[in-house]
Amino acid sequence: MHIPDNYLSPATCAVMGAVMVPVWAVAVRKVRTEVSNARVPLLGIGAAFSFLLMMFNVPLPGGTTGHAVGGTLLAVLLGPWSACISISIALLVQALMFGDGGILAFGANCFNMAFVIPFLGYVLFSVIRDVSKGRRAEYAGLAAGSYISISVAALCAAIELGVQPLLFRGPSGLPLYFPWPISVSIPAMVLPHLAVAGVAEAIFTVAIFTFIKRVSPGTISAAPKPRFRGVYALLVALVCLSPLGLLASGTAWGEWGIGEIGKMVGYVPEGMRRGFSFRALFPDYAVTGMSGVIGYVISAITGAAVLVITFKLIGLARRENRRKALT
């Protein structure tokens, strides 16, 4: 998943770097204020640990081996902000010392591996653990968090690579950087992660967590509990960035309308033509009578708001239940 230099355009690298700068700034501030001084050396040693984790080969079904990133594990053990700094440093050492991952692409690589994996993994882990309590839920959260987060990180890398031929072409119309479109890059990146790397990550994460919990249970509870205001900020940022989706001219892989399938395959499968048709409020994320970008942003805000409201209501219901159970 380490993107080398010149696969991404300098503009993309600048955007990804600009996304990461506030994340690092907040992470440094959080670590200074919330993490005690005594834990600061742990960040460095955590980075060395994360670097070495990527060197361990995990046996996989079928006789092959794969290696894990350990982002979710570090987020659970050290807290997501500390994990973000540790993995960023590990990636910097890899880029500088071993030429693994580009210097200009450092921001993009950090976004995928030091931001998406620890934060998404941690959020999924916390939500699953809190929704259904118990030891099994904890392990399920850990497995799901690590498996999904590494796959989503691969998806992010695939999108970053796949938009290059759409956005940057020379006068002759040929791509200037990574030449393959999203329709090729996504299956090429995501499928191996779903099949191999995700499995390795989940097995490794759960196994190490189980071991540490058995041998030294105090270690795990010592991680500070973060507040998720940052996640809301990310949601807002994603809403603002959503018009980027418009840049992709084609319909997403596997999301074709019936007409499009007809054009591609030559006929419309019977089950699809007669199937259930749902008329959405904002069909194809467009609001009638408005320009594409504005409609897209409005759809994004609405969607995000609906999600936030739903989760808040679920939280309220759970609190009420707990209060009833107590009285």
Partner: protein, 264 residues
């Protein structure tokens, strides 16, 4: 008098076991350690140019390489880099090429199918750009001591990052050695077929984590004993001298060539 059971002829042939993953892990870790030790050995070429200036000019070259769409500029940058590389010792040249050639070859394979569809110029340009960018980074890193690289990075990064980076590189060796010992111990203790070896891997890495935690605590105690108060004072950076005018001049020439090729 020897007991009977000692005199009995025993034939024990341990079942063959597959431990590819342990061998592979040990091999990767040993490669990492040997590279880190080479760096510590102080066998680096001494370059007297200010590390900040060198880091800045390396970054500038990589950025311009990435921005350029003219083959002439890529050729100029390549010529410049290869000219500088040719002055290095053979071991260093080998080390630079050992990293950059595999990455360039991988890029060539990724781009190859698109060349079959007519994008041959992209194939050559992107492969060369990737190759020269990695050569530039490796040239900088293999001739600078880690301390001076940190000094150069200090201009761009918060001090907490620098501290963490410094700790990381120091402990990479210690933890690397520890993990090799743990893996070798696991291999030696598995006689015959050991089906529980895979679950022991979690133990190896788990122990590694617990040990790193302990090391962190000890290190903090040592830092406190040396009057660490939680702030990281700015250290002195080397001053710019007359030797630095050479890379600054080359940098200016590179920008001029970039501008000229852009306007053609």
């Amino acid at each position: 008098m020897l007991p009977q059971w000692l005199l009995r002829d025993e034939q024990y042939f341990p079942e063959r076991d597959r431990d590819i993953f342990i061998d592979r892990s040990i091999r990767t870790l040993l490669t990492l350690l040997s590279r880190l030790r080479q760096r510590e050995g102080g066998s680096e070429e001494k370059v007297r140019v200010n590390p900040g200036v060198r880091l800045g000019s390396t970054l500038l070259l990589i950025l311009l390489l990435s921005l350029s769409r003219d083959f002439l500029f890529v050729a100029y940058a390549g010529a410049l880099l290869l000219a500088i590389l040719s002055v290095y010792r053979a071991e260093l040249i080998l080390r630079v090429l050992k990293t950059s050639l595999p990455i360039a070859t991988f890029t060539l394979f990724v781009m190859l199918p698109s060349a079959l569809w007519g994008n041959t110029s992209g194939l050559i340009m992107i492969t060369l750009k990737v190759f020269f960018s990695v050569v530039a980074v490796k040239m900088f890193v293999s001739t600078a001591e880690w301390g001076s690289i940190l000094g150069g990075l200090r201009i761009f990064m918060p001090r907490l990052f620098i501290l963490v980076l410094d700790v990381t590189t120091r402990y990479l060796v210690l933890l690397g050695e520890l993990s090799v010992s743990l893996l070798v111990a696991l291999k030696l203790r598995s006689v015959g077929r050991n089906s529980r070896k895979q679950s022991s891997l979690a133990g190896v890495t788990g122990t590694l984590f617990l040990r790193s935690r302990q090391m962190a605590e000890e290190m903090y105690a040592a830092m406190e004993c040396r009057c660490f108060t939680g702030s990281y004072p700015r250290g002195s950076t080397a001053k710019i001298s007359a030797v630095d005018l050479v890379p600054l001049g080359v940098g200016a020439l590179t920008v001029a060539v970039f501008a000229w090729t852009g306007m053609r």
